[in-house]
Amino acid sequence: MSKHKSIVDPHKIIKDRKDREEKVNLVKAALLDAFFVFYSIVVVQRAVYYKFWLELRELPFSWSEIGAFAILSLAAGALWASSRTSISARLFSIHKDNRITKYSVEIFGWFLFNITFIAGWMITRVSLVDLFTKEGIEGANRIFGSLLSPELGIFDEALFAIIETVYIALVATIVSIPLTLALSFLTARNLMKDNKVQAVVYYFFRVILNFIRSIEPLIWAIVFSVWVGIGPYAGMIALLVHTIASNAKLYSEAIESIEEGPVEAITATGANKFQVIWYAVVPQIVLPFLSFTIYRWDINVRMATIIGLVGGGGIGTMLMQYQGLAKWNEVGLIVIMIAVVVWIMDYVSAKIREAIY
C-alpha cells in the first residue's frame, strides 16, 4: 500500500503564519495611522483654522494641497506605526506596552474626538437663533393648529388609501419570503465555507445585497415608479426589493448563530449538505425567521406610508397631494390615521411575535 509521508513541518507552519500576520498588521496599522493623521490635518485646517479662526465663508480648496497632505500623512503613519506606539498599533495589538503608547493613544484619541465634534457642529450649522425667529414660530403654530383640527370630510378617501398601504406592505412581505430564504442560505458564512466556489457565491450575493440594502426604499420607489409607472405596484416592488435585502441579512445572521452541535452531529452521520441543512439548521431557524418576517410587515406598513410621497401609491400619495395644496387640516387627518394604523400594526406584530416564542 502506498503511503505518502508528510513533508510538512508543523513548527514552520506556525512560525510562518505568525510572521505573516505580524507583517500584515503592521501595514494595516501604518495605513490607519496615515488616515488618522490625514484626517486631523484636514479637519484642523478647514474647520478649525479657516472656518472658526479666520471665519471664512468660502473655503479655499485645491487637490495639490490635499495630495501633499496625503503624502505627508503616509510618511507620518508609516513612521508612527513602525515605532509601535501609535493608536493603530494598539488597535491591531502590535504595540509596545509602555507609557508612550498609553499617552499617545489617550491624547490622540481625545484630540480626534474633539476635532470631529467641532467639524460636525460647523457642518450642521447649528443655530439657536433660527429655532426662535418670530416668523418661524408663527408658521409652526399655524401647522400644529390645523393638524389638531383634522378635516373629517376626506375620511372615506383616506380610509381606502390606507387600506391600500397596508396591502402594499403585506404583498411585499409575503412575496419576499421564498426569495429571502434562498438568499439567506447562500449568504450564511457557516454554510458557505467548504470550498472556493461557495466562497465566491457567498461574496457575490453579500455584495449585491449590501448594495441593495444601502439604498433606501424611498429611492427604490423613485426608480420603480419610472420603470412600472406611478402607483401601488411601484411601491410594492420597492418595498419587496429592500425587504429581501434586509431580511436576507437578518436570516443569514440567525443561521450563523445557530448551535453548531447538531450540525456537527448530523454531518458526522455521513449526511450530505442538503440533509444537514434540513435536519440541523432549519429546525433552529424557523422561529426567528417567522418573527423577523412579521416584524418586517410592521416596518413595511410604516415605510409604505413614506413611499407614497414619491409615487408609490397608498396614503402617502394622498398626503403628498394635500400637502402640496397646503391643506393642513386634511393633512392633519391623514397623519392621525397613519399614526393609528402604525400603532395597531406595531401592537399586533409584537403580540404575534410574543405568542410564537
Binding site: 500500500m1 510538512v8 452531529a265 455521513g270 429546525p283
Partner: protein, 254 residues
C-alpha cells in the same frame, strides 16, 4: 490488520494552536479504547480527526486498511457513515421527536429528496424503534427530544449512532455533562454496544474510576502528545500525577 492506524498526526488550528503534535496509535477491532487527559490536551481534536470532522495538518490516518487522511466528497461521506459519534452535549435536534432524531443516523444512506420529504422506508422506522429498545427507552419515541433528561438524551444519541451500524464508535466525553449515577448507566450502553455487537469504541473520559471499569486499553494525551499507553489498572499514583499534573488528586465516582 488494525482497524485504525494513526501515524505522526499533527493538527494546527488557524489561530495557531498546535493541538496534536505527532500522535501515533493503532486500534484493533473490538477494543474499548479510552483516551484520557486534561481539557485542551487534544482528545477532542484527535477524535474529530478520525471521522474527519476536522482536517489534520499532517500525518496519516488509515481506517480499515485505507488511507483516509485526505478523502473528500462522496468518499468522505461514505467514511462517516461507517463511524458513529456521540458528543458531550448530545447534539440532538431539540424540536424534533426522539424517533426522528434516531432516524437521522441513517441519512447517509438515504436519498436527498426522500429525506427532505421525510418519507422513510418502514424498514428504517423499524430499525430506529429497535435501536431505541436497545438503549432502553422505546416508550419515548414520540416525545420531543429536549423533553428528555440528559442521560436519556445521550441514549437517544447512542441509538442514532447505532442506525449507522458503525464499525467504530467515537464518544467525545459522553458523560461529562451527566451526574455520576447517570454517567455509569450511560457507559453501560457503550459497553453493551462494544460487547454485544463487537463495535470498536474510542471514548474520551475524565473519571479514572470509569476508565478502570470500562476500558480495555488506555491512552493518555498531554499537550497534544501521547504520554501513556497501557492497561487501565497500570495507571498508578505516579502516572496519574504525570497525566493530570502534580496538584491533581483522584476522585472516586461509582
Amino acid at each position: 490488520m488494525s482497524l485504525l492506524k494513526i501515524e505522526d498526526l499533527h493538527k494546527i488550528y488557524p489561530n495557531g494552536t498546535h493541538a496534536l503534535k505527532g500522535v501515533s496509535l493503532s486500534v484493533e477491532e473490538g477494543e474499548f479504547l479510552v483516551i484520557i487527559g486534561l481539557s485542551g490536551s487534544g482528545k477532542s481534536t484527535l477524535l474529530r480527526s478520525i471521522n474527519r470532522l476536522i482536517e489534520p495538518t499532517s500525518g496519516t490516518i488509515e481506517f480499515m486498511g485505507k488511507n483516509i487522511t485526505h478523502v473528500h466528497g462522496r468518499e468522505l461521506r461514505e467514511l462517516k457513515t461507517k463511524i458513529g459519534m456521540v458528543f458531550q452535549q448530545f447534539n440532538l435536534i431539540k424540536r424534533r421527536s426522539v424517533l426522528a432524531n434516531v432516524i437521522t443516523g441513517k441519512l447517509g444512506s438515504l436519498g436527498t429528496l426522500q429525506s427532505i420529504l421525510e418519507r422513510f422506508p418502514d424498514s428504517v422506522i423499524e430499525e430506529a424503534k429497535k435501536n431505541l429498545e436497545i438503549v432502553g427507552i422505546p416508550e419515548k419515541a414520540d416525545l420531543r427530544a429536549d423533553s428528555l433528561s440528559g442521560g436519556q438524551q445521550q441514549r437517544v444519541a447512542i441509538a442514532r449512532s447505532l442506525m449507522q451500524n458503525p464499525k467504530l464508535l467515537l464518544a467525545d466525553e459522553p458523560v461529562a455533562s451527566l451526574d455520576p449515577a447517570t454517567s455509569n448507566s450511560v457507559m453501560q450502553y457503550f459497553e453493551k454496544v462494544n460487547k454485544e455487537f463487537g463495535t470498536t469504541v474510542i471514548c474520551n473520559l475524565h473519571f479514572l474510576s470509569l476508565v478502570r471499569r470500562y476500558a480495555t486499553r488506555v491512552i493518555a494525551l498531554k499537550q497534544g502528545e501521547v504520554i501513556y499507553e497501557g492497561q487501565p489498572e497500570e495507571i498508578d499514583e505516579a502516572w496519574f500525577k504525570k497525566i493530570y499534573g502534580e496538584e491533581a488528586e483522584e476522585v472516586e465516582i461509582r
